[in-house]
């Protein structure tokens, strides 16, 4: 049993503020007022009265429990797993729980964002504490009622029982008396071995709504009297809107209004400040006439900075690596001298293009801006940043702005940037009415916050006994390299050098499902494969040899991984996949990577069918500590693997004169059904360590494993993404 201080989180145990429980949620009842699922035939009556226990928990007089999920739901399933953590410590029957998305409320919740695979990791203790504090309050109320102490009581699935007696009382019956009971300075958390709910597979709480098409995404939001808006950004990075045929557009059928908006420099807190801050907005009742009107826009654009293209980017990255000054550097030993001594030297260069996010739900947001308030509803991974950016634009205090999160049709980092929210607010302000802004796919894929373009050159030297004695990696990126100074193989080689270089650009870039790690894992893990081959060693044995060094006698102190856990997943995938056993016609590649606090090793089995390489199966070993919701965790890893294979094989965004050359799925390829592996098997390490994230870590290693399997299958090394269409050399 762990004791945690409640003080730090004390705000969370206050009752939900009036703003949160009343104003916002009632205003949001469009999808908050849900009827409970009759899960597994167990049904609790809808309560007549609800009692707020704390900001995470509300209990109804029938025993139904509402748990607020604090973080944005982008498909990573936190709307199920975060409430499970609360329910575990509360000791309630999961079948009696309904989940609601909490609004942004920085006064009571912490870290309300979805990024860096951090929700579960950062929420773990706060969520457990909230559940345990709620349980304590309910027990205290029951103890008072019966004139006993809470040590005389136990709880089972929402029913409080006397240990040595026959009295029982349900949470629903005692909830009214638990309200206002003081939370102790410390609460006791369960021993992890006593978990009953955590570690069991529970289905997506929104599953039924999803499969029946119940409106719940931002794009579905509707309010009577609301207008619809579309926009047009500059066609190229480096261009600015001067004017357009406004009167002609206004006169088109279905168009109420059309105007220019400028949100530049007024929006502190925006990350993607370069992307087209001047745009044309067209407003009307329904979408189609607006999309038609967009086609009739004749605009004048002026060039305000360089119009970049992909060849230029490649050249600049190459130059940066050759002659640039690194912005991050680590050197252990003497790399130059070691390379001189080396008997065998190998050097290879890897590249990857920009990538768009392509959440299936295009960017959109609802805004209702009045003279002294702004109500924002929609898909955002960072409601707090969005609130700040809107406040900055409107010059309005934060407390006049409310932000509610809808379920999101994907995030992948794109919705960490609040521009589309500010745009919606600016349009609403201009027309003085509530409005929902909707991007077309072309808008969504243009003026984005792309995954940067990368280029890295790796070099290794072996001595006469095939030991790795020198290693160097130099990575550039537009705008910064996809390389990490303190990650593996740092710590495993005496003479080790990593340098990272930046290339200036006016193209906006940002987060993207493990943006840098995705590339770094692919490059590093295929390079190590080639080094192992040069050394005449099995690729897993070679990697494990390096880990042995990091475990027994690491080089340097700042190696940001646990070599035992890292080697652990590699050993696990080796065993589970029967590595070393050759099946005729099956070509295998392996890779392991650690990022976002989770260790993953993967083996790709590839076959050749009709002359084409096909991924048949992927084996995954994952160490993310305690599994909250195992089947959902498996889903997340499977998704990451498919996403990783897809992007490495097929996807790229290129530029010509500042214009992205792909803007819809006819030219930007995403992986499809027939290209996905038949099977992905996932194994988890069981070690009881506090949980870490899963949204990103499944993706990076598969890029390396895929490249290595491709080599085995085709005899050719793959250095340049997308593997499917780029000349390799």
């Amino acid at each position: 049993m762990t004791k945690v201080k409640t003080e730090l989180d004390r705000r969370s145990f206050l009752k939900i503020s009036a703003a949160a429980s009343g104003g916002i949620l009632i205003g949001f009842s469009w999808f908050a007022g849900c009827t409970p699922d009759t899960k597994n035939g167990k049904f609790v009556e809808v309560p007549n009265e609800w009692f707020e226990i704390n900001s995470y928990i509300k209990i109804g007089d029938t025993g139904m429990v509402t748990i607020y999920s604090p973080n944005p739901e982008i498909g990573q399933n936190v709307k199920t797993s975060m409430p499970m953590i609360v329910a575990e410590e509360l000791d309630v029957d999961w079948n009696h729980v309904q989940v609601e998305q909490a609004p942004l409320n920085t006064g009571i919740y912490q870290n309300q964002f979805a990024g860096g695979s951090l929700s579960i990791r950062m929420g773990w203790t706060a969520l457990r504490t909230a559940g345990a504090a709620g349980r304590f309050m309910l027990l205290t109320a029951a103890a008072k009622e019966w004139g006993v102490t809470i040590d005389d009581l136990l709880v089972e699935k929402g029913i409080i029982k006397e240990k040595n007696g026959s009295r029982t009382i349900g949470f629903g019956e005692i909830a009214s008396k638990a309200v206002g009971i003081e939370v102790p300075k410390e609460v006791k958390l369960k021993d992890t071995k006593d978990f009953k709910l955590i570690g069991t597979s529970q289905r997506n709480v929104d599953g039924k709504k999803i499969v029946t098409g119940v409106p719940q995404y931002g794009i579905d939001f509707h309010r009577d009297g609301m207008k619809t808006a579309v926009l047009k950004h500059a066609p190229a990075f480096g261009m600015k809107l001067k004017s357009f045929n406004v009167e002609e557009i206004k006169a088109l059928p279905g168009v109420d209004d059309a105007f220019m908006v400028d949100i530049s420099s007024k929006t502190p807190g925006r990350f993607d400040i370069n992307s087209s801050p001047q745009f044309i907005a067209i407003v009307g009742e329904t979408t189609w006439p607006l999309l038609q009107a967009k086609k009739a826009i004749k605009a004048k654009w002026e060039t305000i900075s360089e119009l970049e293209d992909s060849n230029m980017h490649n050249k600049r990255m190459e130059d940066a690596i050759r002659t640039g000054k690194p912005n991050q550097r680590r050197e252990d030993g003497n790399v130059k001298a070691a390379f001189k001594k080396a008997v065998k030297v190998i050097e290879k260069t890897y590249t990857a293009p920009f990538m768009a996010h392509n959440t299936m739900e295009p960017m959109n947001f609802f805004a209702n801006v009045t003279a002294d308030s702004a109500e924002m509803i929609g898909p955002t991974q960072t409601p707090q940043a969005l609130e700040g950016a809107v406040a900055g634009y409107l010059k309005m205090p934060l407390d006049k702005i409310t932000v509610n999160m809808t379920r999101m049709g994907g995030g992948f980092g794109r919705r960490l940037y609040p521009t589309f929210g500010v745009e919606a607010a600016a349009i609403s302000k201009h027309i003085g009415k509530p409005v929902k802004l909707l991007y077309s796919r072309e808008d969504d894929m243009s003026q984005g916050t792309y995954r940067p373009a990368y280029r890295s050159t790796y070099k290794a030297g072996l001595d006469k006994d095939n030991n790795l004695i020198a290693f160097s990696a130099k990575g550039a990126g537009v705008p910064n390299g996809g390389i990490y100074t303190n990650r593996y193989p740092a710590g495993t080689v005496d003479n080790y050098l990593v340098e990272k270089f930046a290339v200036k650009t006016n193209i906006t870039t940002g987060a993207w499902r493990a943006p840098g790690s995705h590339f770094a894992a692919g490059a590093e893990q295929s390079f190590l494969d080639e080094v192992a081959e040069l050394a005449g060693k099995d690729p897993i044995a070679f990697r494990l040899e390096l880990f042995d060094r990091a475990i027994n006698n690491p080089v340097g102190k700042r190696n940001d991984y646990d070599a035992k856990r890292y080697a652990g997943v590699l050993k696990m995938v080796k065993e589970k996949s029967n590595w070393g056993k050759n099946t005729p016609g099956v070509h295998r590649g392996v890779a392991a990577y650690y990022c976002h606090s989770t260790y993953v090793a993967e083996v790709v089995d590839m076959i050749i069918k009709d002359g084409k390489p096909i991924v048949q199966k992927v084996w995954c070993a994952v160490d993310c500590g305690i599994l909250v919701n195992p089947d959902a965790a498996k889903n997340m890893i499977q998704g990451g693997v498919i996403d990783g294979i897809g992007h490495a094989m097929y996807s790229e965004l290129t530029f010509d004169k500042g214009v992205n050359q792909q803007s819809n799925f006819d030219t930007y390829q995403l992986i499809r059904h027939s290209q996905a592996p038949q099977d992905i098997e996932v194994f988890f390490v069981d070690n009881g360590i506090s949980p870490t994230g899963l949204g990103e870590p499944g993706l990076p290693p598969v890029v390396g494993a895929l490249a290595n399997a491709l080599y085995k299958a085709t005899g050719k090394r793959y250095y340049h993404q997308p593997f499917n269409s780029t000349e390799q050399g």
């Binding site: 999803i210 579905d220 329904t286 038609q292 295009p362 027939s674």
Partner: protein, 151 residues
């Protein structure tokens, strides 16, 4: 603008729009049937899949003027209580991640099974290839289609 009469989920509905308006926007903006999703607007992603006389079609690229007497079915009309075998299989296997593409996937899958109750992997790939899932739920979708086929 012109008046169009449609049969949607067994109901007769009327709408006054331009003949070029895709069924997707008629469903979403005029009938407030929001289950059908917008993803690309050019028949590339499948998010907007509906049934037109039982065929899976992309409603984003289907102008209302060509629909005439056909029967339109959307996710809202797939089953009374969300208990179509395909929906049940989807829930059992807990397919969705973000869920946004899933209505389109379900509409394509149910149209496939209607015609071909025992599809092979190749049949599934062929019928489903127009439905993109950025979250990468393809393996579970295939599993769910096979499970639904059994029932």
């Amino acid at each position: 603008m012109a008046i169009f009469n449609l049969k949607v989920n067994g109901e007769k509905l009327q709408v006054d729009v331009d003949g070029s308006t895709p069924i997707l926007w008629v469903l979403r903006d005029h009938f407030k049937l929001l289950g059908t999703k917008f993803g690309c607007g050019m028949a590339q992603c499948g998010a907007c899949t509906i049934h037109l006389d039982g065929e899976a079609v992309r409603s984003c690229s289907l102008p209302i003027s060509v629909v005439q007497d056909s029967k339109i079915n959307t996710i809202e009309g797939l089953s009374e209580n969300g208990d179509h075998p395909v929906q049940k299989a989807w829930l059992d296997i807990d397919v969705p991640q973000c869920g946004y593409c899933q209505v389109g996937q379900i509409m394509s899958a149910s149209a496939l099974l209607e015609k071909n109750p025992n599809p092979t992997d190749e049949d599934i790939d062929r019928a489903m290839n127009g439905n993109i899932c950025r979250c990468g739920t393809y393996i579970r979708i295939k599993e769910a289609i096979k499970a639904a086929a059994k029932n």
